[in-house]
Amino acid sequence: MLPSGLPEVVADDEPLARFLMSSSQFNALMVKPAAYMPSAKDGNTSVFRHGAEPRESLLEIAGTHVVGERTLHGVAICTAQQVRASELNVVAQEPPPRHANITGWPVVANDPEQTKAQQKERALLIAQHAVLVRVPR
């Protein structure tokens, strides 16, 4: 059991929240794939193990661990199963509480653009299923 009280293994049916700090990361139709692209620093995509509800605790996580002085524009919610169906994985990574990483992004040796293209295809697969929670301003 992790300090947050959550199990160490992220179950397939667990919802994952990705906080969106730019309104350009989504449109009226969907969350854009770029929102799920991995960090250039650690090669993972940071998510929190939380669904759209309860809204108060979702926004509290964002406020405490992500937003800082920036503005939260929305939250993308998908399930761990949808991530795994995209040939990626989700691994718990606390602290902070409830934090997890989307891992396993493909890397092509000595070819950053091929790496990016393959990663983008997987991001498209996740984004097509993600549910957008808009944050009222």
Binding site: L29, M30, P33, A40
Partner: protein
């Protein structure tokens, strides 16, 4: 010495052009030719305005995005600032797009690249990454079909694979797209 042309002068010139282009009682061969030439000129001016306005608006949107994502960690994590070279290349890319294609939506990526997205529906979209280099990574979903690739953007020519991909995803069936 060249002198600036005022908006009023342009308006007056266009007003004259519109009056010549208006369907009227031109009966002589010469009058019909003048009317046809004026018509063609009006169409050309209107088309240029529509296209320039569209692309100018997209470029302005990209500039706003570049400002919004100009600092480290703009995504609440450790995203790199948007790369000014990527922005310049994205502008060149949009200017080079065939006019019959729709313009993309855009967003920043965590590595500082610009993502240009053509979104028809949740499972019909194409996304191109533009970084500082000439090689563009792209990927698409088209129902159950999907894929990715890399193409080179050089000398202001949008790679044919990307043009064809956008046309297919966005249902553009203009022959001019293929010829571009």
């Amino acid at each position: 010495m060249l002198e600036p042309v005022s908006a009023v002068t342009i308006q007056l010139g266009l007003a004259a052009l519109y009056s010549l282009a208006r369907p009227g009682s031109a009966v002589s061969r010469e009058a019909q030719v003048v009317q046809q030439v004026a018509n063609d000129a009006v169409n050309s001016v209107e088309r240029s305005w529509a296209l320039f306005g569209r692309k100018a608006s997209a470029i302005s949107e990209l500039s706003a995005l570049a400002n919004e994502c100009a600092h480290e960690g703009w995504d609440g994590g450790d995203a790199r600032p948007i790369d000014p070279q990527a922005v310049s290349k994205a502008i060149a890319f949009m200017r080079a797009l065939p006019d019959s294609l729709p313009l993309p939506e855009m967003t920043a990526e965590p590595d500082g690249a610009v993502s240009l997205d053509w979104i028809r529906s949740r499972n019909r979209l194409l996304s191109v990454s533009i970084g500082a280099g000439d090689r563009l990574a792209f990927a698409w979903l088209d129902g159950s079909d999907r894929g990715h690739g890399v193409a080179r953007f050089v000398e202001g020519v949008v790679p044919a694979r990307i043009v064809d991909g956008i046309a297919a995803i966005m249902d553009v069936r203009d022959a001019a797209v293929r010829a571009a």
